[in-house]
């Protein structure tokens, strides 16, 4: 019996169409637009201005607080302007737009493909390097990585958990990274272990990726303290709390962080970025994303430079299929639909899903039939049907006491609802309002 998390969960059709497609390198576009806010926390402050020459890997926006992240140029060329451009949600946000000229990297970056296993940097130095490289959680939440590694006083980390679950249907970028960059990921894991001062790391992989499990298990023998943990395929196992429950059977109290139970979770893509930052001095300016969809000509995985327009990725994968009804940034469960293909890909772009029209349209919402399915699938043990009504009625105190803030917005409730009720839409609204109220109380 394979391990999985203790409560709720669903198993949507996996549709991992691009699993067998090796990572390709997306051509560098003519211009990139790099938003200054690609992470959770304060937006970075631009340190370049119009007409500045920049190189690949050069710092262009500086972290503006503890919870914030540096941003580096992904191309070499001239800064065209620093202006507000439309982001994925249609709002205008500040971005640095760079006209590309050649591909000249910073001299400090080691561009060789050789694997550097020896970790010479000390604990503080590793965290500093990770912060300087602007590494954020690449699973999609984009929480600055150095913040998670700075264990608050009074708490101790016991175990590092590497999130290689990739529980979102369709997405395969982490899968491909594990297969093609297995050694780098494991060295990255060891670096993270050193930064945290732990001697145990668990890599959680769902068993729908048997080749990745076999590959990493073989490699893990060469690395001390790393165990590979196959998990039963179950959404949302990639949620931090679910993964901790699945791998080490510990429950995080409501409102607390994983460090409360001695765990720190990092994504497998983050581990690779950490390897590159610490061993190769390479800041985070490129990552791997999946482009997929049932009618897409060529579902595939691509390494792209941050700031490349979404359009380029679609063109590279064979162009926009005619019957496209929705373009989703991210996976089908937690991703957000894009309003235009002119927006840039960012640090948090793990995939792009082109849904055909008949799958894209929401079905008509009908009254709740009190079947309780949403309650049984909720991985956080909440009552989504009730939270939805409370949010609609603006009963914020009750929402708070019913632990709406514990919702991880996985969308299992909306997915499973036989009446097609937009449960998560309302819960997210309530969460936002309750969060505001709680912050203003402080």
């Amino acid at each position: 019996m394979l391990k999985t998390f203790s409560l709720g969960g669903i198993h949507p059709a996996e549709n991992k169409l691009s699993a067998s497609s090796a990572i390709q390198v997306l051509p560098i576009p003519e211009t990139v637009s790099i938003p200054i806010s690609q992470h959770i926390g304060a937006p970075a402050t631009p340190v370049v201005k119009k007409n500045d020459e920049v190189k690949v890997g050069q710092l262009i926006a500086k972290s503006s607080g503890f919870v914030s992240a540096n941003i580096h140029s992904s191309v070499s060329g001239t800064v065209f302007k620093v202006d507000d451009i439309m982001d994925a949600s249609g709002f205008r946000r500040t971005s640095i737009i760079i006209k590309v000229d050649g591909d000249e990297w910073m001299e400090t970056i080691d561009r060789s493909e050789d694997l550097v296993k020896e970790i010479s940097a000390g604990k503080e130095e590793i965290i500093k390097k990770i912060a300087e490289a602007g590494i954020v959680g690449l699973g999609g939440a984009t929480f600055p990585a150095h913040v998670k590694l700075s264990v608050p006083p009074g708490k101790t980390a016991e175990v590092l958990i590497i999130n290689a679950v990739e529980c979102e249907p369709y997405l395969t970028s982490d899968h491909r990274v594990m297969l093609e960059k297995g050694d780098e990921v494991l060295v990255g894991t060891q670096i993270l272990m050193k930064a945290l001062g732990v001697d145990r790391a668990i890599v959680g992989i769902e068993n729908n990726k048997p080749d990745a499990i076999a590959h990493l298990t073989k490699l893990a023998g060469n690395y001390k303290g790393i165990e590979i943990c196959p998990l039963k395929t179950q959404y949302p196992q990639g949620g931090e709390k679910q993964l901790i429950s699945a791998t080490i059977k510990r429950e995080i109290p409501s409102g607390a962080l994983p460090i409360e139970v001695g765990a720190v979770v990092q994504n497998v893509g983050t581990a690779l970025a950490v390897y590159e930052a610490v061993q190769k001095n390479k800041p985070l300016f490129e990552r791997v994303a999946t482009i997929t969809g049932k009618s897409l000509k060529n579902p595939s995985n691509w390494k792209f430079r941050i700031g490349t327009p979404v359009k380029d990725l679609i063109d590279a994968a064979g162009g926009l299929p005619e019957d496209t009804g929705k373009i989703v940034g991210g996976g089908p469960m937690m991703g957000k639909a894009l309003t235009t293909v002119d927006v840039p890909l960012t640090k948090g772009s793990s995939g792009l899903l082109l849904l055909p029209r008949e799958e894209a349209v929401r079905k008509e919402s009908k009254p709740c039939i009190r079947c309780g399915k949403c309650v049984s699938v909720c991985p956080m043990g909440l009552e989504p049907f009730l939270l939805m009504v409370l949010a609609d009625k603006k009963a914020y105190e009750r929402l708070e006491s019913d632990a709406v803030m514990d919702c991880i917005e996985c969308g299992s409730c909306s997915f499973t609802c036989p009446a097609n009720r937009p449960l998560l839409d309302y819960i997210r609204l309530g969460k936002g309002k309750v969060g505001q109220i709680m912050r203003s109380r402080k």
């Binding site: 249609g90 309003t339 997210r428």
Partner: protein
């Protein structure tokens, strides 16, 4: 037989004892409440809309009775007549407040502001606004899902299917402000009703630079500043590429309306421009559309007699 007698007597005895106890307890724990609260509550319209900012008419009545000066209080439903009645009860002199009305500051109809995408999430403006910028290129304008209409307790709003925008029925609007609070994009504003319901306002809230705003919507304010230069009364301010007309300074001369290159400035309920205001040679409205009018209306209590509601509904 005696059982019945005993029962009746016992019950009477219990009743009398309880009455005596209750009488003393009531004396002891008596709460004094100003009788005027009831009186004031009686005078209020009992709509319990919350438009005054207090929890229902009772709450408002309590606040009124407590206050030393009720000049800053206004029941938007009852308006000046109710407030003067309340003033009479409480013995305050009441200055009639200028009646206000909800005004929609967006003219992004389907024609003026073409859709760039389609929203199929939960039908709520607040949810749509929290997710993304809306179905058009304008991130500031009306989302068209009608949360303001749902919030209106007075049937004073409806969604126009053709334009996709809400319409405010001026005669029914009591200016309670429920729609203003409901709108996540803050498009609706309470503005002075104006003499004969005549109003001039910028029907746009787009803060983008001119080119972007214009691309998204044909009738967007592009922040060109022509109206600011034209206005003889300094009533127009330009901030974040958006003009705003201060209704306290505006003398309704309508010069800004003519110069606006995108027709973003609307004039309501004015007679057609050519044959100047000739129809009513009485006191009120001949030339005073211009300067002197405002000074007059400041002291003068009037406009209570519902400003000649001959005018049609507004906000096209």
């Amino acid at each position: 037989m005696s059982i019945i007698v005993i029962t009746i007597l016992a019950l009477c005895a219990i009743g009398v004892t309880a009455a005596i106890i209750l009488f003393f307890v009531a004396q002891k724990f008596k709460v004094y409440e100003d009788p005027r609260i009831d009186e004031v509550e009686e005078a209020l319209p009992a709509a319990n809309c919350g438009g005054c900012g207090y929890p229902g008419c009772r709450g408002f009545a309590e606040a009124l009775v407590k206050a030393d000066n009720i000049d800053n209080f206004l029941c938007p439903v009852g308006g000046a007549p109710v407030m003067s009645h309340v003033g009479a009860i409480l013995g305050h002199e009441v200055k009639a407040a200028e009646p206000t009305v909800a005004v929609l500051r967006c003219n992004g109809t389907c024609e003026n502001r073409p859709k760039t995408n389609q929203y199929d999430g939960a039908p709520s403006c607040t949810i749509a606004a929290s997710l993304y910028s809306g179905e058009t290129g304008c991130q500031f304008g009306c989302l068209g899902l009608g949360e303001c209409v749902d919030a209106c307790n007075f049937d004073a709003m409806y969604m126009d299917k053709e334009t996709g925008l809400p319409v405010i029925i001026e005669d029914k609007c009591v200016s309670c402000g429920a729609c203003v609070k409901a709108c996540p994009n803050h498009i609706i504003e309470l503005r002075k009703k104006g003499p004969k319901s005549r109003r001039v306002f910028v029907s746009c809230v787009n803060k983008d630079k001119g080119a972007i705003a214009k691309k998204a919507c044909d009738v967007a304010c592009i922040g060109c500043g022509k109206c600011v230069k034209e206005c003889p009364f300094d009533a127009i301010t330009l901030e974040n590429n958006l003009a705003y007309i201060d209704y306290n300074k505006c003398k309704l001369c309508r010069k800004c309306v003519i110069v606006c290159p995108t027709n973003a400035i609307h004039e309501l309920n004015f007679p057609p421009r050519k044959e100047k205001p000739t129809e009513k040679p009485t006191a009120a409205s001949v030339k005073p559309v211009a300067a002197p009018k405002a000074e007059v209306k400041a002291e003068e209590a009037p406009k209570i007699e519902p400003t000649a509601n001959d005018d049609t509904t507004e906000n096209k």
